[in-house]
Symmetry: C2
Subunit: 516 residues, 2 copies
């Protein structure tokens, strides 16, 4: 480790001070965005867009500070550069990447995009409530144009093959549309085969129990008890988390202040239950990155895909497992009085794992979920390339849903307007959901080698060892490695769809009683 | 009005862009502080102190932007300067004041003060809970030293006679400790005389009714109904406000997003009731400044004293009046079931206006309240001057409470640690509470001339005309005038204690049945 006593060391320390500003500023933005979604009075929307534009401007100034450029040159050009350790080199790499990208993006474009984003989200909310895509369209068009402009610039800086690849790289560094297409084709084949088997076997779940009314207050207690189970502290005097309510659940925060949201539907209690586990998976990841790296660029989630691997691991691999419900069903029965007193474990576990093509991504089952993502990926790839326009979205969306999932979309609120991502300008984000599933299959295989009885432990209500394993093997590393390197470190191989499909086949052949 | 077509106009417009940044940034800080008090997970405190220090640094950079200095020189030195209208000149004056003060305060001092503030507030909370002043003392000492350093610098910039005057000027521009001493001496005499009369008359209130248990849920409904009464919208789809819970109620926000907090004590329902009215008075002021001035420096409350005049007007002049309860007691009875069914108007109104020396400022009655403020003023004046030290505070505090209010302070949590102000570095703030009362007496006299039956309207449940009068005569003007000029405009005279004492004498002689 290079000390601050020589020029390389002191330049590195100075660079880290600049990096700290970036991280602190991002944590401020996350509070302001969280507040906008959860607490802001509705009239405050225009003021909020001014605040976010201002913060974006500050962010742009902070990441493009010319002193960062000077320091980077001095550090990279120093004869002792190789004496920097792995952590230090990675911090330098990450700050350089940000600096290079942001210096090439005009401040005006960044600020204008931030402003347009707030307006587009607002239009999306209103249009969704009114089931009227044409209220959303003009604002989305403006945002897409701004994102395309940014993508063209970023393509050159990053040296990606296409503008869309430059956007993917924001969420999953080094991943490309070509690679995703190949991975998703294999995934699609596997998923379609499982769906067919599940649909045609006589053993079908009884899901009527999931529609039983569970009062919202009880659902809140359930959410709190799940948070305790996954050791996401929202209650103690040392708590570093919160649970709030939004229509669309999300996680935001940084180390000691990481917040999740969920929604409570009286007639669909598992919606809040699984979204709490899902977001809790994101939150515990953020909370357990190496604490020594707080305020450094490596002290952050590896990639969106990796983040998603953690949320889906907790939601599905743990939360929808027979083992978890062996432990939790008696607890649920206790919390809900006599609502589920007649329900047995097998019925319940099959019900929460029903495979059934549907319209809404966030309510989709584990198997059909991947197809929802593939649809979005295929559409946004064409949209950013310019092969289709915003005006085409509803038609193409509905066609693909018919083709891949055989469902009829009756209005755009349950179709192309169901997600917030595009309204927020997050193009290139969706693929990471499915990549997360694939990573989590590989992570499961690695976990099973180290803790063969992990699921027996879960059945006994003990999540602690699994969580510690995740912290040690995934969370703590933050951004020290790229996603490609981290999955190799964990699984000993590159991204590989096989393990995830194996997991699904194993699980669903048992549930539905079909031959693998 | 000068147009942007000449250089004066375009320089002015450019200066206003700079001013807008300042106002937007302040609105961001207010959200971050609100979140810290209401929603932040406890573990987030250190991260939050980093965030606030960062924002303070940005605020310092934004207000001391050298371009502001250049623009001010060009504008003030322009031959057509007098062609600027009153609004424009005031904006220039306000931005110049901020710029001059901030350029003289070293950025390090500002950032260090922001960081220390968060730590001191945290120490205060813990010390207050533990009833242990010595946990608080070392952090308060550091903060006081920082504030003294700033006060010395500001004294020179502002040309005030003493460092303490420079701090008072932050909250009540142009006011001095000497003027306040003179005003408070007259106020003290008047208050002591009223207190004596109330204490010695045989007609005493029965306050036992105020201790009746009111469930927190009902208190929330009461708070919402009071918000509706004063037209502070927290419920509709166009709402620009919120009500949350904190131990110490406060108001924060800007135009379309103004939030109040209260606290609900089951055995003391009037505590939330009156704090909701009080904070609602602040909030409706902030919401009703001329909307055209949003993002301009004149678009802000006139002074802390004027702000307090509005909160106390709603809390006391309206909220503790016989007329308001003529309207609201039946409503309260309806909301609370049979809790108050046996209580008559006279009993209730006398109970909520009991005059009784006590330990806690925020629970004090309208008459003794002024003495709580005078004590704080006298102590902080000596503290900043250096005549006493932080270590002396508990002893001197307890002596003064014995002397002025004849109460014995048994621990520092109900004594010198009861308020958050000093922990937040707000020295010079307390006097504005009493100045607010004095202004409100003058405002009442002016209102009575324009709407002689204002209290009859209140008794009928109609607050609208009073509110419109307040908007027209107080709120809308924002910072266009200094407090001294605004009170002259409203009352036709300088600050004058007489009207407030008249109001108190009139009210309490009736309530307690004594001869004026």
């Amino acid at each position: 480790m290079i000390e601050a006593t020589n020029t390389l060391g002191s330049n590195y320390d100075r660079l880290m001070e600049k990096g700290k500003k970036i991280m602190v500023l991002e944590s401020i933005v996350s509070i302001i965005l969280w507040d906008m979604e959860t607490k802001m009075p509705p009239k405050g929307i225009n003021l909020r867009s001014q605040q976010l534009a201002f913060l974006k401007q500050i962010e742009h100034k902070t990441t493009t500070d010319p002193e960062i450029g000077t320091l980077l040159e001095k550090i990279k050009g120093h004869s002792d550069y190789d004496a920097l350790n792995e952590l230090q080199k990675r911090n330098v790499y990450l700050i350089k990447k940000k600096y290079d990208e942001m210096t090439k993006l005009p401040e005006e474009l960044v600020v204008e995009t931030a402003r347009q984003r707030v307006i587009t989200v607002d239009a999306w909310k209103k249009a969704k409530a009114a089931k009227d895509f044409f209220m959303f369209k003009p604002e989305l068009e403006k945002l897409v144009d701004l994102k395309k402009e940014a993508a063209e610039i970023l393509m050159k800086v990053k040296g990606t093959a296409t503008p869309y690849d430059a956007l993917i790289d924001i969420f999953e560094p080094h991943m490309t549309a070509e690679m995703i297409t190949r991975i998703f084709d294999e995934l699609k084949k596997g998923l379609v085969s499982i769906i067919k088997k599940c649909e045609t076997t006589p053993k079908q779940p009884d899901t009527s129990i999931l529609k039983r009314k569970v009062p919202v207050d009880i659902q809140r207690e359930i959410a709190n008890s799940l948070a305790r189970f996954i050791e996401y502290d929202v209650e103690s005097k040392e708590a570093g988390g919160r649970i709030d309510e939004t229509e669309h659940p999300f996680t935001t925060g940084y180390y000691d202040d990481v917040r999740i949201t969920t929604h409570y539907y009286e007639n669909n209690f598992t919606s809040s239950l699984f979204s709490t586990l899902h977001e809790g998976g994101h939150a515990t990841y953020d909370q357990n990155i190496n604490p020594e790296w707080m305020y450094q660029l490596i002290g952050d989630g590896c990639s969106y895909g990796f983040h998603e691997s953690q949320s889906r691991f907790i939601e599905n691999f743990v939360g929808r497992s027979r083992e978890f419900w062996t432990h939790y069903l008696p607890k649920l029965k206790k919390l809900t009085g006599d609502i589920f007193s007649d329900v047995d474990l097998d019925t319940f576990v099959h019900a929460i794992n029903q495979v059934k093509p549907s319209k809404i991504r966030i309510e989709a089952d584990e198997v059909t979920y991947g197809l929802h993502i593939i649809i979005r990926f295929e559409i946004e790839r064409e949209l950013i390339t310019g092969k289709i326009t915003v005006a085409d979205l509803p038609r193409i969306w509905n066609q693909k849903y018919k083709k891949y999932l055989d469902v009829n979309i009756e209005n755009d609120s349950e179709g192309v307007m169901q997600d917030t991502h595009w309204a927020e300008g997050y193009f290139g984000y969706f693929p990471s959901y499915a990549l997360g599933n694939i990573y989590s299959g590989q992570i499961l295989a690695a976990l099973e080698k180290d803790i063969p009885d992990w699921n027996v432990q879960i059945a006994k209500g003990n999540f602690h060892n699994v969580k510690q394993w995740l912290i040690e093997n995934v969370h703590q590393y933050g951004k020290l490695y790229s996603a490609a390197d981290l999955i190799k470190k964990i699984a000993g191989e590159e991204i590989n769809v096989k393990h995830y499909l194996d997991y699904l086949n194993e699980k669903y052949s048992k549930l539905y009683g079909y031959q693998r």
